[in-house]
Symmetry: C2
Subunit: 222 residues, 2 copies
Amino acid sequence: MRSRSAEASARKVELGDLTPPPDEFLGRAAYLELALFEDLSRVVSIAPTTDAKERLSRSASLALAKHHALTALLERRGVDPAEAMSPFAPAIDDFQRRTLGSNWPESLMTCYVTAGFLDDFLARLAAGLPGDLADRARQALESDTGQERLAEMLAAQIAANPRTASRLALWGRRLVGDTMLVARQALAASVDRSRTEERIEPVMTDLISAHSRRMDKLGLTA
Amino acid sequence: MRSRSAEASARKVELGDLTPPPDEFLGRAAYLELALFEDLSRVVSIAPTTDAKERLSRSASLALAKHHALTALLERRGVDPAEAMSPFAPAIDDFQRRTLGSNWPESLMTCYVTAGFLDDFLARLAAGLPGDLADRARQALESDTGQERLAEMLAAQIAANPRTASRLALWGRRLVGDTMLVARQALAASVDRSRTEERIEPVMTDLISAHSRRMDKLGLTA
């Protein structure tokens, strides 16, 4: 299992040369993961059944652990997590508002699509961190947050009410647009913009393929 | 430390003879703790500063761990947690709506007052569970969920804006009324109502004293 996932990581296009300074990377990633936890805990609150609540609460717990793994890395560096996160709060709060969803299935879709994309993106960007921080941050970001469970619940939702499929497919497309924007904000500012674009393009292609596979799993077109 | 807390427990008036059957007790307690987690994660979401968010997320994590400790006890008995919780969802959802609060300090107060009261109440009621379940459930319910942190944040809130004090004191009184109602619903139905009242009275007196001490800590009158 381990060597297989190591191989998979090796095949991935990495973004190491666009990684911002460590405290900036960790502050932003920690706040993003906190936002993903908030989304998930909201989905727990509005879940239509006790069973859904119970299963989603496991994912919320894992998402919060991911946030705390990142704040622990900041603390090891002697940095106050709240201070490190603060500069990124306005943009991420705004992203969160735009991706809230107008009902439970949409909000569930948000958790599935945005967390899948951002964890993958941030794990690649972590490759450019100095020393053992690269591995520690990547491991934290790649830890499971019950994405399979979210996919199952979404698939069940679509099966029970096939008319939601096209609305959810549309919502998925909008989500991936907003998510790409918030991901791009996490890249180090570079003098040479066209060079940056060149570097990012294959990564975005890769991440969009992963997104399409996630949508396929639900029987939806990305 | 251990013997001291054992002494403290011994001094407490217990409710063992009014404990409902184990699956009923655990199902209701697990759902209540899930609701307390939801309240707390909402307070994380609407927190005015990144620092408050960060500190409250620790409490949310502990509250969710408390819920999962109780569902683990159900699973050990071969009971599906979602099924065990379902019957109690409507009444507890209703309690949650009534105690939501209309702004961040009120919602923070809700977490402080309702969790403090209900954990204490349920830990006493756990004494009537059979075998080692009594101790296990009590330990789960008495585990720390960062109440001190909530008290500090509320006190800071009141210090920064003294005019909120009277509104929060009023809100605290309303909360304790609603919380007592939801607590009473957790008692085993008894044929002899007046005997039940006689048993509960000293416990409620005790719990209300604990509530007053919690309010004192904030400089508020219960």
